[in-house]
């Protein structure tokens, strides 16, 4: 079945450093979503990517969808303590199923 892996599993950065998490699907995706979950909180939708090679920016966050629509990345420039949390990608397959498979998540800690 479809699997979505994320690396790294954990990342500790100093405030001001950049951070990137990578998402890899075993199958081609129709679209991919990114979510952020603060400690003790619930996942919050950040963005959706649909087109091959798409790049979207939200302030310090840059999201990319691979050309083959099997991988994606989230890059944060100059991290802040408010960026702390777990970042999940979630991919929807092309096979006609509606379900989103969530990635394994990357837990980010930002040291002040």
């Amino acid at each position: 079945g479809q699997q979505v892996m994320q690396i790294p599993q954990y990342q500790h950065v100093q405030e001001g450093e950049d951070f990137t998490t990578y998402c890899n699907s075993s199958t081609t995706l129709s679209n991919i979503q990114w979510y952020k979950q603060r400690p003790g909180g619930h996942p919050v939708f950040l963005i959706q990517l649909v087109k091959s090679g798409e790049v979207k920016k939200q302030k310090r966050l840059t999201f990319q969808f691979g050309e083959a629509k099997k991988n994606s990345s989230l890059h944060i420039t100059a991290t802040q303590t408010t960026d702390v949390g777990t970042y999940f990608c979630a991919g929807q397959g092309v096979s006609g199923t509606y379900k989103y498979i969530f990635g394994t998540g990357t837990r980010l800690k930002v040291l002040a």
Partner: protein, 113 residues
């Protein structure tokens, strides 16, 4: 106003008991979901309903039974609770099942003694 609300927030109960978790959304969405998040933070889809019709039914024990009385509500009933059922259960909703953002509730933390 809370968009997706779940009750209860915490549920502590003994093995073998039966319990229910309720979810309501006031976003006017057609699709609702149940997810399970384990202690390692893995988020796994369990069920999804679109307009009261079951469209996703993952491989979960049949002790878990969802019910959607209307588009705005999706409940989860669990029979004969086991230790491995301890997790956080999230309800979510989206406009429709295809390429739409999902809005999550605050979660129900279920602890089995």
């Amino acid at each position: 106003d809370t968009a997706v609300s779940q009750t209860p927030k915490y549920l502590v109960t003994q093995m073998g008991n039966d319990k229910s978790i309720k979810c309501e959304q006031n976003l006017g969405h057609d699709t609702m979901y149940w997810y399970k998040q384990d202690s390692k933070k893995f988020l796994k889809i369990m069920f999804s309903y679109n307009n009261k019709e079951l469209i996703i039914n993952e491989t979960v024990p049949n002790r878990f039974s969802p019910k959607s009385p209307d588009k705005a509500h999706l409940n989860l009933h669990i029979n004969s609770l086991e230790l491995g059922d301890s997790a956080v259960y999230f309800c979510a909703s989206s406009q429709d099942p295809s390429d739409q953002p999902q809005h999550f509730g605050d979660g129900t933390r279920l602890s089995i003694l």
